[in-house]
């Protein structure tokens, strides 16, 4: 069957309006440039509403959304239980001079849930959490340098960016050291070359960088990293902003069998309500307490209430297992549809955060065309970024996705006779 092709008339009109009053129209990862809308005509710019596994754009096009707002949507948009908890809290108060007791309840829940957590500190975005972690590590160790893993993304503050990024000074990143993923020998070398100077090693639990196949930790990698950090007095920070709550409710470090000193959460923590958290070991509690680090909305009660209900519901449904099962079902179907049409679809990373790449050419152009054909038919996926599974995706949604994928593969094949 031929699926409907989306029309984006209203989206395009709104984008034109937006460019007059908003820098770039839509800036950042949700926008057409950073979001890799290739070609831009295949994508919507603005949504009108969302529910469960779907969102509808301003033209009324419905999408099965495998980007999940780039991670926050884990139970489904507008989850009735989480939203009920948030709306109930809103009746009592949100942003108040004395923080709500909900803050204590959420901290207790995190300490009970997250394996390495002896305490919890709250903020708003993932960047707030990773910045807090680095400040804490520097305060605790009185050292300057931070080791990053090449391909990293830890936020948008100057220290997280690179020397060639607009607005970043060489001094901002002068204490950043870089090592390749899974490279224990490289890590040992860099530690030896900077002995006694390294405050922290910061990394995602596995390499889910953009524009490349995602890589899982090699056998023994994290055990060795943990040993090196402990031996050298380096704070081990796990940036679980992206993967957190989808692999293991006790933290992705727990999933991979080690213990972080600090772990950062955001995205799926409250199913779309805005809160982030840093959890850590007891010995770092004084160091984080000593920071001058706060924000106007960091102790708002509504997102705390949402996070509490979200975490409890994730436990009730055993979300990591459920998301993995749904993802495996989807990925098996996509790989089958690809193979049936002569495509080499490479799937990498953890299933619940799957990364896709068509490997029939070396330029990603075939892949980009296939992704565009999917989006035009209402399956929102990405050509450059890992995806996110959510608990509201049904078997029917997965079946429909695979049917659309089959049609998109056929269309893409006709567009690229040179490759088949």
């Amino acid at each position: 069957m031929a699926f409907k092709i989306n029309d984006y008339t209203k989206s395009n009109e709104l984008f034109k309006r937006a460019t007059k009053v908003i820098p770039s129209g839509v800036y950042g990862h949700l926008g057409p440039a950073e979001g890799n809308f290739i070609p831009v005509s295949a994508w919507p710019f603005f949504s009108e509403r969302a529910e469960g596994a779907y969102f509808w754009d301003v033209d009324g096009n419905k999408f099965i959304d495998y980007m999940c707002a780039y991670g926050p949507n884990i139970l489904g948009y507008n989850d009735p239980d989480v939203d009920a908890a948030a709306f109930e809290q809103a009746k009592f108060g949100n942003c108040t001079t004395s923080p709500s007791y909900k803050m204590v309840e959420l901290a207790e829940l995190l300490v009970d849930t997250v394996n390495c957590a002896d305490w919890a500190f709250f903020a708003k975005n993932g960047n707030d959490a990773t910045s807090c972690a680095v400040l804490t590590a520097r305060n605790a160790t009185h050292r300057k340098k931070i080791i990053f893993v090449n391909g990293f993304y830890h936020g948008v503050s100057a220290w997280t960016q690179k020397i060639d990024y607009p607005g970043v000074l060489p001094e901002d990143v002068a204490n950043n050291l870089y090592v390749d993923w899974n490279d224990v020998a490289g890590l040992e070398k860099i530690v030896a070359e900077n002995k006694g100077e390294i405050a922290a090693f910061i990394s995602t639990p596995y390499m889910h960088g953009n524009y490349k196949d995602n890589e899982l930790p090699a056998d023994g990698y994290w055990k060795k990293v943990r040993e090196i950090c402990t031996r050298e007095g380096i704070v081990l920070i796990v940036d679980d902003v992206r993967a957190g709550w989808r692999l293991d409710l006790a933290g992705s470090d727990h999933y991979y069998g080690f213990e972080a000193d600090l772990i950062c959460f955001c995205k799926a923590l409250a199913n779309g309500w805005n809160v982030s958290a840093i959890c850590g070991k007891e010995w770092l509690k004084d160091a984080v307490s000593g920071l001058s680090y706060t924000g106007s909305y960091w102790m708002s009660a509504v997102p705390f209430a949402a996070a509490i209900r979200n975490i409890n519901k994730l436990k009730e449904i055993d979300a990591p297992k459920l998301l993995r099962e749904k993802s495996v079902k989807l990925l098996d179907g996509l790989k089958g549809a690809a193979a049936n049409n002569g495509f080499n679809l490479v799937v990498s990373g953890e299933p619940s955060l799957f990364y896709l790449r068509i490997a029939n050419d070396d330029s990603m152009m075939i892949h980009q065309d296939w992704v565009a054909e999917m989006v035009k038919r209402g399956i929102f996926i990405s050509s450059h970024h890992n995806h996110f599974m959510n608990a509201a995706v049904s078997d029917e949604d997965i079946k429909h996705t695979i049917e659309v994928a089959d049609e998109a593969f056929k269309i893409t094949k006709k567009m690229h006779p040179e490759a088949f």
Binding site: K16, T19, P23, P32, V40, I163, S363
Partner: protein
């Protein structure tokens, strides 16, 4: 946050290098540098680049090195060489004194002509032919500067380090195209439309390209409006764009 050595490479390879294109695209330029015998002007910059511009029958060819020049202009430093582009330094040849007449009466007016196209007035740009030639020359200069910054500037080298091997095509729809060839993080600009490429960045029109070069429009918004097309290995384009930011810094 620029350095004289990188600027010297840009000035020689990209700015003076675009004389090739000026002679190719302008009848007036061709007439101006017509000679009976080839004149090969070598630029030899101590601690910096060296290259030769060879003028034959109204055509200009750029080659790296100055072993085969018949007029040699030595410069004791990159700063001194950059001074000729600013107009603050007058070069004195160390060989080829018989070609001084070409230097003064043909080459200097040719570079003056180039300057007019590279730094046009609003009035000049109202002339359609002038506008088109100016945009072409700016395009080729920028394309040339990308490789020089990626190979020489410390921050540019950081960007180049993140570009995988392959060809990036940069083009203006209905206008010029160039290839940035990347091998082991070294960049080479080839001022021709490549047959095969791993990534494409195409500006939708000459007007859009000129406005972008002038900083009059926002590139990200134009991506959203579909007037700048990006395809293929976006991580290649992403890093080329970071170098492009520095082109503006050097050529401002």
């Amino acid at each position: 946050m620029t350095d004289a050595r990188t600027l010297a490479y840009i000035n020689l390879y990209a700015v003076l290098g675009s004389l090739e294109n000026l002679c190719e695209l302008s009848e007036d330029a061709r007439k101006l540098v017509k000679t009976d015998k080839p004149v090969a002007i070598g630029f030899d910059v101590k601690g910096g680049p060296s290259a030769t511009l060879t003028f034959t029958d109204g055509k200009c060819k750029f080659t790296a090195g100055c072993e085969k020049c018949n007029v040699k202009l030595p410069f004791s430093s990159c700063e001194k060489f950059n001074g000729i582009i600013d107009g603050t330094v007058t070069p004195i040849p160390s060989k080829g004194f018989t070609k001084i007449s070409f230097l003064l009466k043909q080459f200097t007016p040719l570079t003056d002509m180039l300057s007019k196209y590279m730094r046009p007035t609003e009035e000049d740009l109202k002339d359609e032919k002038f506008f088109e030639l100016s945009t072409n020359l700016l395009f080729y200069t920028i394309a040339g500067a990308i490789s020089q910054i990626g190979n020489n500037d410390e921050i540019g080298k950081f960007s180049a380090h993140h570009i995988p091997d392959g060809v990036v095509k940069i083009a203006i729809s209905g206008g010029p195209a160039a290839a940035i060839e990347v091998k082991d993080h070294k960049l080479t600009t080839v001022k021709q439309n490549p047959e095969k490429y791993r990534a494409l960045m195409e500006f939708g029109s000459m007007k859009l390209a000129h406005d972008l070069f002038d900083g009059k429009v926002n590139a990200i918004a134009k991506v959203g409006e579909g007037e700048i097309i990006m395809r293929g290995m976006i991580n290649m384009i992403d890093n080329i764009n970071r170098i492009l930011d520095r082109v503006a810094l050097y050529l401002a």
